[in-house]
């Protein structure tokens, strides 16, 4: 498996380059943080809100955009498609786990995503230069670790919803419900720090913020030491929970799999 992985990455990159026009469109479709940034910039115009000035707003939403794309994958659609059409059957015959292939496919598109996003990032930095900050090395290190964990959680959640296609025709609809709740609860559309108290407290116990707000707040230097560690620990817990559920739905699902040739 470890010998095959670099090759899989090369295949994934070649695929991403082949479908570059579609990738551009998909990346640009997921730019909602920029809209939120303009709105919250207006909110902070009259003066900082709870320590959030226009610079902090721009920094928060720029990092939200970046982390959203670092952690994004499309394995739920791939799985759904391949389970329904039987495309999964040959993958199951290969001497490695099909999910390894999807991991490589999703990771390999990242350099190209970065290239597509670069002009947008540069534009935001030019528009609001005061978003720049001098991050502490340890928050950056912890933030990058946290972003990696967020990627694992987001990918695993998609695997769970994708493998629901073994059992149900509605798995994509269920994923859309998840996505709707996620965009409200993860800090994607508004900073959780500025949400009403009851909402913020409730969201501490839900998995959504672990996939986005946690790495963003760490990288932006918006949380201090002890609570940063607590947030990363919560991410580890969610990684465990979702990996467990994914292992269960996957193994149960493959046993039920009755597509052509399986």
């Amino acid at each position: 498996m470890f010998r095959a992985f670099p090759t899989l990455l090369r295949i994934g990159l070649a695929e991403a380059v082949a479908y570059r026009a579609e990738l551009v469109i998909w990346v640009l479709t997921a730019t909602a943080p920029l809209i939120s940034m303009f709105i919250w910039d207006r909110v902070a115009e009259e003066g900082p809100l709870g320590g959030w000035g226009q610079g902090e707003m721009a920094r928060y939403f720029l990092l939200t955009l970046i982390v959203r794309h670092i952690t994004s994958s499309w394995v739920v659609w791939e799985l759904n498609e391949n389970i329904r059409t039987g495309g999964l059957s040959p993958m199951l015959l290969r001497p490695m786990h099909p999910l390894v292939f999807f991991v490589a496919q999703n990771l390999a598109a990242m350099p190209l995503r970065a290239v597509i996003l670069a002009p947008l990032i540069a534009g935001v930095m030019w528009w609001r230069p005061e978003l720049m900050w001098t991050p502490e090395p340890w928050t950056v290190a912890l933030g990058l670790l946290s972003a990696a964990l967020a990627w694992v959680i987001a990918f695993t959640v998609q695997v769970i919803f994708g493998s629901l296609a073994f059992f149900s025709q509605q798995s994509l609809g269920l994923f859309n419900v998840w996505f709707g709740l996620w965009s409200l609860g993860s800090g994607y559309l508004f900073p959780l720090e500025l949400a009403p108290d009851w909402l913020r407290q409730g969201l501490l116990w839900l998995p959504f913020r672990a996939t986005l707000a946690t790495p963003v707040e760490l990288l932006a230097g918006l949380v201090d030491g002890p609570s940063a560690l607590r947030l990363v620990l919560a991410q580890l817990v969610w990684v465990g929970v979702f990996l467990g559920i994914a292992a269960l739905t996957w193994s149960r699902g493959v046993r039920r799999h009755e597509a052509v040739g399986a």
Binding site: L28, A32, I35, V43, G180, L189
Partner: protein, 259 residues
Amino acid sequence: MSLGVAVAALTRASLLTTMRYRASFVGEAVMAVAWAAWTAAPLFVVFDQAPTLAGWTAEEALAVIGFFIIAQGALEALVDPNLRAVVEQVRQGTFDFVLLKPLDAQLYVSLHRTEPIKLVHCLVGLAIVAHSARAIDAGAVELASAALLMLAGLTLLHSLWTVVVSSAFFFVKVDNLSWLIRAGLDAGRWPVSLYRGVVRFVLTFVLPIGLVTTYPALALRGELKPSTGLGALVISVLFGMLARVAWIRSLRRYSSASS
């Protein structure tokens, strides 16, 4: 065949298709309410922090959300399914059958795949607008001008989609493009006056979602100058003419499946 009969027949066909799946109506209604709540949620968070924003109160901004939901519902019911079908027909060559019909092709493709069930979203949007109008205490003139501007905005969306679909005759695979435009239209859930500079210009004149959602809301508040309102109507007529020209020019590019 008179035009009226054709339009009635196409509408009847879509309605009959919808009635076959009556059970999904309830599901769609539940979805519409949940969708509206989801759309409005960020607004409540913003106005929790700032009582007014660029001269808009929460109730007034809610009207923009209402018009946004109406526009999206109309898009999903009347515009997008109809025009997206064209992309498929052009790709497969079955567009020949459309051209053979003794009816204007643009009119036919604008009606042949309507999904009336999605109009439930428009009802929810109307309810939100009604709530907002009561809070603002809008009079009859304001209501009438808001309705007029809303209709102008919806024809504008239709024109915009027609232009996008016309490009299918050149580039074949454009359904992804309609997703990109939808992401852009998402900006229309906020009053366009909250944006600045280039972004506001684009949302008013290039991808004119501001005209569709903000202007009717301004009319509801009685704050739309008659000249601006007229300007909006002129822009939507111009877009309509642009769409017609784009459509006719693209048809000339169509090399059919058989000839």
